[in-house]
């Protein structure tokens, strides 16, 4: 049943499994969907979807499968039963649609309540009782200039409408992120901490007590490996003019990384468009406050993880020509690309984060340099998905 939804979800990238699908079937068998599409919507979502980031994908898949199907809102079951055996919709010509200005919602509600009290059965095609295809203000598929729709195509709380509203669009993981999401993503770098290597040099107090206890009092020392995070992180940020539109995004990444306390070492450096013989210590990129790139490579061993943040968009000359640097007075004998290759060769783990969405990489002005740099560093877009992929990349040697 509904297997279309199952495959639509998988097409949308939600990895629904058979276990979850069977759970949904079990729930349907128990009658938990109450035979209404809106209940089915919530039921299926709570059983199949396990993260708010996938709510939007669910909405999209649901729309694909159920678009055009409308269910009535929850009106007393009895009234709905009257309406079930409906007449075909009443066609009303434009001329007949005289607006009825003499009505008020309160009055209408009062009348509906009265009629609900008096009416005892089905009624179709008339002008007074609740029914279908007539001109009474109450019912559906009929016409009354100011009527109360009961059942039929509903405006209120329809599942398809709820899905179409796509209220969870903001939670999509491929959207760009806020500081907290950055922090969470960076926290995943903790996974890198390998409890496998290192000496067993920390006294495991609980283990010792436990083992000694099991030994009926004869002391037995248990040693464990310290669970330290071994990650040392270097972040190099482009502070060139073309990065201005992404300033807020980058400062969020900066804040998040700065707040993460779980790295063994964390250093920030800056560059202007591309990296040459010096790397700057602050975002103002002044020569008097810079570190020679060779010194930089000596100071930070290959085990540092290198993250470069930049739009990788520049004139190809800045990357490919000797003395091509944008800054007046820069004396780079070697082209930028050589320096980048040198960096990539030195560090065992490195990634390039690009604030320009991946979909635009081939269209923007810097498409050529993006491609060139992408061949040197694995390049990811600066979104939650991109960052997660980058962090995964940082875990393994390239």
């Amino acid at each position: 049943m509904f297997t279309g939804l199952f495959y639509a979800l998988r097409r949308e990238g939600v990895k629904v499994t058979v276990i979850e699908w069977l759970a949904l079937m079990e729930a349907l068998e128990l009658g938990l969907a109450n035979n209404s599409l809106i209940n089915f919507y919530y039921l299926a979502r709570s059983v199949l979807i396990k993260s708010e980031t996938q709510y939007d994908a669910f909405d999209r898949a649901f729309l694909q499968c159920f678009e055009g199907i409308e269910t009535p809102p929850e009106i007393t079951g009895e009234v709905l039963k009257w309406l079930e055996n409906a007449l075909p919709p009443l066609k009303v010509g434009q001329a007949d649609k005289v607006a009825d200005f003499h009505w008020s919602l309160d009055e209408l509600k009062k009348k509906l309540a009265e009629r609900l009290m008096k009416q005892t059965g089905e009624h179709h095609g008339g002008s007074h009782w609740i029914g279908t295809g007539g001109t009474s203000p109450f019912g559906h598929s009929g016409y009354h200039p100011a009527g109360v729709r009961i059942g039929g195509e509903s405006v209120n709380r329809s599942a398809v409408k709820v899905a179409a509203a796509r209220a969870y669009r903001d939670f999509r993981t491929d959207e760009t992120l806020n500081t907290r999401q950055f922090e969470l993503a960076l926290r995943k770098l903790r996974l890198l901490s390998t409890a496998v290597d290192g000496e067993r040099d920390v006294l495991d107090l609980d283990g010792t007590v436990e083992a000694t206890g099991r030994n009926a009092g004869r002391l037995e020392l248990v040693w464990a490996r310290g669970r330290k995070n071994n990650i040392k992180l270097l972040i190099l940020m482009d502070s060139g003019g073309s990065m201005n539109p992404y300033q807020r995004l980058c400062s969020r990444l900066f804040n998040a990384a700065n707040k993460s306390t779980h790295f063994r070492d964390l250093q920030f450096y800056y560059f202007h468009n591309c990296i040459y013989e010096v790397i700057f210590n602050d975002p103002f990129c002044l020569r008097k406050n810079a570190t020679g790139t060779y010194d930089f490579l000596r100071r930070y061993g290959p085990d540092y993880r290198l993250v470069i943040v930049g739009d990788a968009s520049m004139g190809p000359g800045e990357l490919l020509m000797s003395y091509g640097a944008l800054d007046w007075g820069a004396d780079n004998e070697e082209p930028g690309l050589t320096w980048l290759q040198r960096l990539a060769g030195h560090f065992e783990h490195s990634v390039w984060l690009n604030p320009i969405p991946r979909a635009h990489w081939e269209m923007v002005e810097g498409a050529r340099t993006i491609k060139l740099i992408g061949e040197v560093f694995p390049m990811f877009e600066l979104t939650l998905d991109g960052l997660n992929a980058a962090i995964k990349k940082l875990r393994v040697k390239k």
């Binding site: 990895k15 499994t17 276990i19 979850e20 759970a23 079990e26 729930a27 128990l30 938990l32 209940n39 919530y42 039921l43 709570s46 059983v47 979807i49 396990k50 993260s51 708010e52 709510y55 209220a167 969870y168 500081t179 969470l184 926290r187 995943k188 996974l191 007590v209 436990e210 000694t212 206890g213 099991r214 009926a216 009092g217 807020r248 804040n255």
Partner: protein
């Protein structure tokens, strides 16, 4: 063990229909209910509300970064046994008396069905949820020390909350019913305030709520204020005798809502002032210096 009762929400807790549905689905399908949502959307309160509404005992297992799955099942108090053996107290041969059941164990052996809240499961180690898979699935665990198997007499309704600080393992997620508590809209917020402080001036509540959503929608806010902060704010405004008409324009007492200097500065730039006239300016925060 057939479940007859349905959860319907309780007087003290405003639950959306979707949430109520999710609770009932989880109870009937006999699966744990995983609740996520912004801080302050009442994830923990939900379990209390379920317990109250269905008249069951609530067992709360608060997870900390050091909590291990084993702690929830049972703890073998080896130190006590060692101590007893050295001083000749108690019957050391009877291991049973040194086995203390954890919260999960407690829920299993309870005479009546209980509601078990596993609070903030993401605080624990990444592998923690996986370690509980079997126990939550089968509702039983084995104690090798005594050779006993503890099996649940009545399957507890398990509610698990998470603040998304860590990714939960897929195998664990597959077995859960999931619900994300969206941040309440204005209408719902009125109801929530009304439940907590039924006597407050309606005009004050309305303009406070409107101001609250205005603040929340400020672009670039680092920490958005949550429901509990709004509740405090409304109370502070009422206690301070603030004129409801000026709340939206002046945003008094912002220190109750905003906890970060940057956010405070942001609000200041937008609305100026920001304090009750005459309130101690210096000791709110140090943001003026910048």
């Amino acid at each position: 063990m057939e479940q007859k009762k349905h959860y319907r929400g309780s007087a003290k807790y405003i639950a959306s229909e979707e949430l109520i549905n999710a609770v009932n689905v989880a109870a009937l399908l006999k699966r744990p209910l995983l609740i996520k949502g912004e801080p302050g959307t009442g994830k923990t309160m939900l379990a209390q509300s379920i317990a109250e509404n269905m008249q069951m005992r609530l067992i709360i297992w608060n997870i900390k970064s050091t909590t291990k799955a084993q702690d929830g099942l049972y703890v073998y108090d080896t130190v006590q046994r060692l101590y007893d053996s050295q001083f000749g107290e108690g019957d050391v041969r009877d291991i049973k008396q040194y086995i203390k059941l954890g919260k999960l164990g407690e829920a299993f052996v309870s005479e009546e069905q209980t509601v078990l809240l596993i609070d903030e499961i993401d605080k624990a180690d990444i592998e923690f949820p996986n370690d509980l898979l079997w126990e939550l699935d089968q509702m039983s665990f084995y104690i090798p020390e005594t050779g006993e198997t503890v099996t649940a007499r009545h399957r507890p309704i398990v509610v698990i909350t998470s603040n998304a600080e860590k990714e939960l393992p897929d195998a664990f997620l597959r077995r859960c019913i999931f619900h994300y508590i969206a941040f309440p809209d204005e209408q719902m917020m009125w109801e929530i305030i009304n439940v907590h402080y039924p006597d407050l001036d309606i005009k004050l509540v309305r303009s406070a709520v409107r101001a609250f959503y205005k603040i929340r929608s400020l672009p670039g806010l680092q920490k958005k204020p949550s429901t509990s902060e709004l509740l405090d704010w409304v109370q502070a405004l009422a206690a301070g005798g603030v004129d409801p008409d000026m709340i939206e324009a002046e945003m008094p007492l912002p220190g109750v809502l905003l906890k970060k200097d940057n956010d405070m500065a942001l609000l200041q730039r937008r609305y100026g002032g920001g304090e009750l006239p005459g309130a101690g300016r210096k000791n709110l925060t140090g943001y003026r210096r910048g």
